[in-house]
Symmetry: C2
């Protein structure tokens, strides 16, 4: 598409296919999509594609009509073959060949069957239809406007949506929620009289094997239906949802389902009627069930009017406390969607103790691709290593988060109508990495980065780009809030440091720094008891200062500045050292990027170079505010005598 960055699908990656002969067998919309890709590549590079048997280098064969996403890839004497019993499998097999490039034709003989480890791989878009006066067109969006909506209505031209669907299909995403979980007045109507706009988007996504989901307001029976209540056990309410859902499926036969943020940060929910979240979710599940739809019910429920004086309340405990008593009560097509950490997408959090604690409930795990707390797509911060750590974490031995996410892996999208899709061109890697991890949560994340770099930049730039990106999450962690304590950000927009910005707020996000020490005591013995929400293994690890990992120490414990970490450094010296190092690493990355000038497309290079100026300014601001704050409080000088203001 003209004027839009090709991201990881530049023409060049279709050359190996485009120069060869392909036979494609089977029929249906997704086969047509693959055929179209092949035809375009061959037109560009001189190869050929046919739907009839004949000589070929590549055979793509749809052998059935099921829903399977599996495909078998074989490179043998007779050429390269992809076979799949379901159309999505063929689509994913095709893009597998694209990713392999020449290797798919020239490599060693091989026969592999691929299937996604996670059935639902979803992007949630926090896009508003009408521009919100505070949050704008895309809530927590850092890449321009919405791809779907503009100033109160659906975009007329859906070419960009199709280009987006293609990018997603190429890395295995199969579900998209098209509007913000905070459902405002205009957006509420997408469910009813404006469902046609959603259907248009669904039509575009369908061609890429992607089902469309919708965020709805729990209060819809009142605000749209004119009923007096939204009580989930009220027969009229249930009938209203059933009828509304029937009309949705008339418009979108393969509609994915609803996403609901209820009783959360001011959104309405079942608590108003003395009902449980299971009651609420199950009502919607019942409405969706006849059509094979799913409700994604978010577990982000906590008291956001907390009194900072009250040390007994701990926001980190909230999801577990609210939801574990309901285990076993959720319908089969109700998925509880849990943020990966107990707080809110900080650069470092422990894994939510809810994951693994509800064996009788389908859980989806929600990650955040949009960099709300990780540099807002002005900083390079490749989140792959963090997500990989989360997904490999084993709440109980032998059972990882990736395996426990039976209800899906979901990411909050980081795209917008920015020409580079994600604002910062290197933030595209987060979208790609999420998708690939959702396919295979135990994948080597470094390999995913290399794959993305290879597709996006080609081989010549690879080493330089990798040097800039591979360690960027840890670099970001170094120059921001230390040792897992989190939330030292400017209130509201969440960009840049403000150590005390949330310290006396109602949001439940505190660090309790005083002249002697810092951190939140979440132990069972003397703190909020949060550590005890984990299974025995991790509860014991997190319970004591001695066993708690350094990187989460201040999340779980309040310690003196002179406390010696496992690293051998004191807490205060660790703070100083990491903040100086973090800025040095940004400077180093900036130099590295500058040296890639000759091997990276100049427009992309210039944009990243420009953003590095801001990242460095911001990193220095973080360094100096954090260091000054803790120096003023602790009175402890830096061992190395560096400048602290």
């Amino acid at each position: 598409m003209r004027g839009v960055d090709p991201a990881w699908l530049p023409d060049e990656v279709f050359r190996p296919i485009g120069t060869r002969r392909t036979v494609i067998r089977g029929s249906g919309p997704l086969v047509d999509t693959v055929y179209g890709e092949l035809a375009e590549a061959c037109a560009r590079y001189g190869g050929g594609v046919s739907r009839e048997p004949g000589p070929h280098d590549l055979l793509l064969e749809l052998s059935g009509s099921g829903d399977s996403e599996e495909f078998t890839y074989e490179l043998g004497a007779g050429g390269t073959t992809v076979t799949a019993s379901g159309a999505r499998g063929l689509l994913y097999g095709f893009f597998h060949v694209v990713r392999l490039g020449e290797e798919a034709f020239l490599g060693e003989p091989v026969r592999e069957t691929h299937r996604p480890a996670v059935g639902l791989r979803m992007l949630d878009h926090w896009d508003n239809v009408a521009v919100h006066p505070v949050m704008g067109q895309v809530e927590r969006g850092y890449a321009g406007g919405s791809l779907f909506w503009e100033d109160g209505r659906a975009r007329g031209d859906l070419e960009r949506v199709a280009a987006y669907g293609r990018l997603l299909a190429s890395c295995g995403i199969n579900a998209v929620a098209v509007n913000n979980v905070n459902v405002h007045a205009v957006e509420a109507r997408l469910l009813t009289d404006r469902i046609g706009e959603v259907a248009e988007l669904a039509g575009v996504f369908r061609a890429y094997g992607i089902r469309t989901h919708l965020s709805v307001t729990f209060a819809a029976p009142i605000v749209l239906g004119g009923l007096a209540t939204a009580d989930p056990l009220d027969p009229e309410v249930r009938a209203w949802w059933a009828a509304a859902t029937a009309r949705v499926y008339e418009a979108i036969p393969d509609f994915g389902g609803y996403v609901v943020k209820a009783d959360s940060e001011g959104q309405p929910g079942p608590f108003a009627y003395g009902r449980s979240h299971a009651d609420g979710a199950n009502m919607l599940a019942a409405a969706l069930e006849p059509y094979g739809g799913t409700v994604h019910w978010r577990a982000f429920v906590y008291d956001h009017h907390q009194d900072w004086r009250d040390r007994t309340t701990d926001r980190a405990r909230a999801a577990y406390d609210h939801f574990t008593p309901l285990d076993g009560e959720f319908a089969a097509n109700a998925v509880l969607q849990v943020k990966h950490g107990p707080m809110d997408f900080q650069v470092r959090e422990p894994v939510s103790p809810l994951i693994g604690a509800m064996p009788g409930t389908r859980l989806a795990v929600e990650l955040q691709a949009t960099q709300e707390y990780t540099g807002q797509q002005r900083h390079v911060c490749w989140l792959g290593p963090m997500w990989s750590e989360v997904l490999r974490f084993e709440p109980e031995e032998g059972s990882s988060v990736g395996e426990l996410a039976r209800g899906g892996l979901v990411a909050v999208s980081n795209v917008g109508d920015d020409p580079f899709w994600t604002g910062h061109p290197l933030a595209q890697a987060n979208l790609y990495t999420f998708a690939r991890l959702a396919w295979r949560p135990d994948a080597d994340v470094g390999g995913i980065l290399d794959e993305w770099i290879g597709l996006t930049f080609g081989s010549e730039a690879a080493a330089g780009v990798r040097a800039v990106m591979a360690g960027s999450w840890r670099t970001y962690e170094k120059y921001t809030a230390p040792l897992g304590v989190g939330f030292m950000v400017q209130p509201g927009h969440h960009y840049g440091p403000s150590v005390d910005g949330y310290e006396y707020s109602p949001w439940g996000t505190y660090h309790f720094a005083d002249r002697d020490g810092v951190g939140v005591d979440r132990s069972v013995a003397s703190g909020t008891g949060y550590a005890g929400q984990y299974g025995k293994r991790w509860a014991e690890v997190y319970e004591t200062v001695a066993s708690c990992p350094d990187e989460l120490l201040l999340f779980f414990h309040h310690v003196p500045y002179g406390h010696v970490l496992k690293s051998g450094k004191t807490v205060i010296q660790h703070i100083y050292d990491t903040h100086f190092e973090g800025v040095e690493e940004v400077e180093q990355a900036q130099r590295e990027w500058a040296s890639s000038a000759g091997v990276v497309d100049p427009v992309r290079h210039a944009r990243v170079a420009g953003l590095f100026e801001e990242q460095l300014r911001s990193a220095r601001e973080w360094r100096d505010q954090i260091n000054s704050y803790f120096f003023r409080k602790s009175g402890v000088a830096d061992e190395r005598g560096r400048t602290i203001y």
Copy 2:
């Protein structure tokens, strides 16, 4: 006017006049205004008014046609007489009689001549024509929308503006600026093609002796005139302003002049052209001079992109540093408008050292009636005592601020389209007090409060209302930022506490609290040198910790928490004590107000009672955040063992 609070002019105060016979002599619009007031009062209460000689209790006589605002009031054997050589004098004399009530007829014989000590008594309205996306219809307005503008245009119905003009005339205001000093795109056009809207307002105000002023953008020649420059020495620019000003005076022959915020917080100004503020102001003065107009040039010029790491820059110094070198260079009709303190309307600041330091320049002193930093009209905070202290302050012995304000006294307005005019009904007192102090800066401010209470509430409620209001400024000071340190507010909206909210910001507003002490060293010996901007007398007082008054100690000095104040308390104990006391005083005031229930109009009583809930909540939040912050930093326990979180 129906549906609008009568404020200090309820019908009842016109009873003494309305039951008597008045003869009024003279002609002209202001005489007509007074006649109209008399006719209405007499229609209500049965008295009589005549323009012909005859038997009377009150004679109002306009004896000339000058501009004098003076009047002579006499109570003698022949009745009560007011004579004035100028129409405004007659207007003010009439309202003098109204204020006196029965005393004007039954008191002891007396003959007094009254004249205002300050020629220009002005209200600046920070009203936007178009609703600003962040600042709203009225910038720093806490009383609803604008009286003048609504959603991008002038209000059609000007009845409310007339009621407002009447209130202002009754306490001696003679000038109003009708739009925000931050002049945005829509507002800029008031100067040119939309001057007709201003003329309509001016027509209403004219009947109350009030001249209308306009805030203009220094960039007008570019943004409105299409010129390439706004350089004040450019002949084309000068010609553009001359022509624009001529058209203004065609529309409004008695137009007061321009108000300009230049090179301030992002507004354009002469610095862009390498010109001085005198060059800028004098250009506008030259355009206004043929018509008797004045330019009010604000001295609020400072670096709002300051680096908090830089301890050598001091925002408090900025106005003095920028403007004193220009003394003697400003035209006779250019007035330099100086905020009363060096920072920005904090609850406690020293008097700006600029006042008294520019003997060759006409200065206006700007106060802030709108309670931006003093409770935003949700807290009772009667500012009279603060203003009185400021106006009586003598930069050099024998010469007070009130006397040095030769260019006028200006207040940023606190009114809006709220039914009570000012949101909090008791905030009306700030408007009234400002006006009466502007007439006579050395007036006994307690007497002004009594006068306002008497007019507004009558005698029965007087003691109770006085008890709630008289000490309210000191109460507010107690529970907010201590000892003159200022600016511990939430960034942006400025409501509620945030001790570090501005501590690392570019706005130049710091307290430098660390584990050992707090405050800003502005001494000459070891600090920013700000104390040396005062004349010898005050420079010496402020220079040392020993001589600096307690209430400004942290404004001028950084001291340890254990420093013993003149009061005998340590700084830290003073912080704890005042914050507990402040909240107790709010609780006491709330009880006092509750006990006035029977003697105050129920609607007004209920609104104030409701606001006390919020004031108490907010005061407790201030107390607890400030106390916790300093306890966490200092580690010093409260001597009295009260709860600090």
